[in-house]
Symmetry: none
Subunit: 317 residues, 2 copies
DNA sequence: TATAACATGACAGTTATTGACATGTTTTAA
DNA sequence: TTAAAACATGTCAATAACTGTCATGTTATA
């Protein structure tokens, strides 16, 4: 085995084992103990954070920020990472911001000149835009790590009624509309509650772990799904313009049928709960859409239109 | 210079030069031509995509997907990249999706077992949540690259009035509320217009370049700052519900005046260009809003309502 | 057909790596 | 206090890898 390959494998070995002796390495890779020492010293020079404990019961130890073996990326891959980082620019608070910076620096340094210019320009042609929020959330990284490790957290939370200290089991965190939210099981209330992370003023990781209740996605689904209880069939004719508009509605788009470029229809089933929203949507489309079913929706739209005329007529003169 | 260091530098060298001979390398690094050949062969084995052209005028060539020299990341840095990728999960259409996949694979492969589990779990505790859109935008990558290269694009665009083919100079692209938008200078109109990339049905990169007009950020600033060219004053009374609705419109929110919890108004200046959009918005608010000024908007809303009644009446029986 | 490039092989000199052995140092358990 | 188990470092000879020179092909082009 070539030396390079061996060093490569050695990185993996030390990362997995964490604690080991030079004899272990010598035996594992079929080299002499002297060489094992030499190689491990070399890893140290390469930046792998190993330290040693001399004496009986000693050996090599790896610090927790372990190194990955060297990886070669091509420019496209590097560019993809820059692209992804761009998506994070908008967030005021970010976990791992330092690491993002160092990854950026390492990748950027390896680029050829022309490619560097390209990356510089990326900044000026690509934005992930949202309303900027200026509220800081310092505990994001800790929350993520606690959630991953299924670890209980003690938090002090600012709520309407004042600050409270609670012990919670985080389900996860999500970003929405510029804020970070943490759904977490609250021991006090015996149920999962939603916390805004910027309202957490103090936090401590306990050593206690909990058994996972549910993944974040399940919680979000349950939180948003609202279980369609009463299905309602709708049938709506669409003009060209109606087609164009409806295609940007994710809940309609899959059910659009285009008869020909100038005409089409939507036939789908909605939930009773969304009735008003759907009705308002087709109302707002005006003559670009024509609701055929349900009849009640037609009535409602007609009634709304009449109200509107009345509303503005009474205004008159 | 050590061999490793030399190979490292050689990668940079070949990436920058793109075309060169073994003599060039030998001279540049002070090695023999024979060794230059040997090293270059070694780079090939390492995965750097070089090929050769024998014969007079020949030499070594690098394919465009150039390689970066090997980089060592630590786990935290790798995790930061996974985190960034998580932010992109929500987008239906992504440029560089293949590359994101391959970066993920390369980094993931280098992780120790326990860390792999941690990354697997990241998915279940972290979400960047927005309303999902299912509309596909296949041309994102090309737009970005054209914008970076200041290259003119021919596009076929679906607009209200039908499909049109235009030649445009893209300023950049940005993601907003689940859609991708491309502001671009439109030769036809002699000004910068906004395109939704999912409505581009065909695209071709021309070879022509243009001189950059402005960076995307400037454009966004100007766009959001709303320097109306033809200002139109609007005055709209709002009910409680109207207040609630308007408050979630970023362009209205700053100009809302609440008289008391049940009543308020909006008074602001909009641009002539947005007239239709604004009118439609208040139409859709129904009786929750009452446009007082401009009178023409009142007329238009009334007319729309009448049309709607007619639209659904003719349907009748 | 000469030239300028890559391609490959052989060989000897040079350099780097390796293993064996020796000698310290530090810590812990007996 | 001592022995054992670990790292730490040095020396040296054997071996392996690398390098440069020379030689011989091959390929494309002026």
């Amino acid at each position: 085995m070539s030396k390079a390959k061996l060093l490569f494998d050695l990185i993996l070995y030390v990362n997995t084992k964490r604690i080991f002796t030079a004899q272990d390495v010598a035996h594992e890779f079929g080299i002499s103990v002297r060489t094992a020492h030499r190689y491990l010293a070399e890893l140290g020079d390469m930046g792998v954070p190993i330290y040693t404990e001399p004496g009986r019961g000693g050996g090599y130890r790896v610090l927790n920020n372990r190194m990955l073996p060297p990886i070669m990326f091509d420019e496209e891959e590097a560019f993809a990472v820059f692209f992804a980082f761009q998506a994070l620019k908008y967030y005021q608070s970010l976990p791992f911001d330092i690491h993002i910076g160092s990854v950026f620096a390492k990748l950027y340094a390896g680029l050829a000149h022309d490619m560097k210019r390209k990356v510089d320009r990326l900044d000026s042609v690509l934005t992930f835009w949202n309303q900027k929020r200026s509220v800081a959330s310092p505990y994001l990284k800790e929350i993520i790590e606690a959630a991953i490790a299924h670890e209980l957290l003690s938090i002090e939370y600012v709520s309407k009624s004042g600050n409270t200290v609670r012990k919670v089991a985080p389900v996860g965190i999500y970003a929405y509309d510029g804020f970070w939210y943490m759904p977490a099981f609250d021991e006090l209330y015996g149920q999962i509650r939603l916390f805004r992370t910027d309202r957490i003023v103090w936090m401590e990781r306990t050593q206690q772990t909990f058994t996972q209740q549910m993944p974040l996605s399940d919680w979000l689904d349950r939180y948003t799904a609202q279980t369609p209880k009463k299905p309602v069939r709708i049938y709506v004719e669409l003009t060209r313009e109606g087609l164009r508009q409806c295609r940007s509605q994710p809940w309609l788009e899959p059910h659009i049928v285009m008869v020909h470029p100038e005409q089409g229809y939507v036939e789908t089933v909605i939930d009773q709960e969304d009735w008003d929203y759907v009705s308002d949507y087709f109302f707002q489309l005006g003559t670009a859409a024509k609701v055929i079913e349900p009849r009640e929706m037609v009535d409602r739209i007609r009634k709304q239109a009449q109200e509107l005329i009345h509303h503005y007529a009474s205004d008159g003169t």
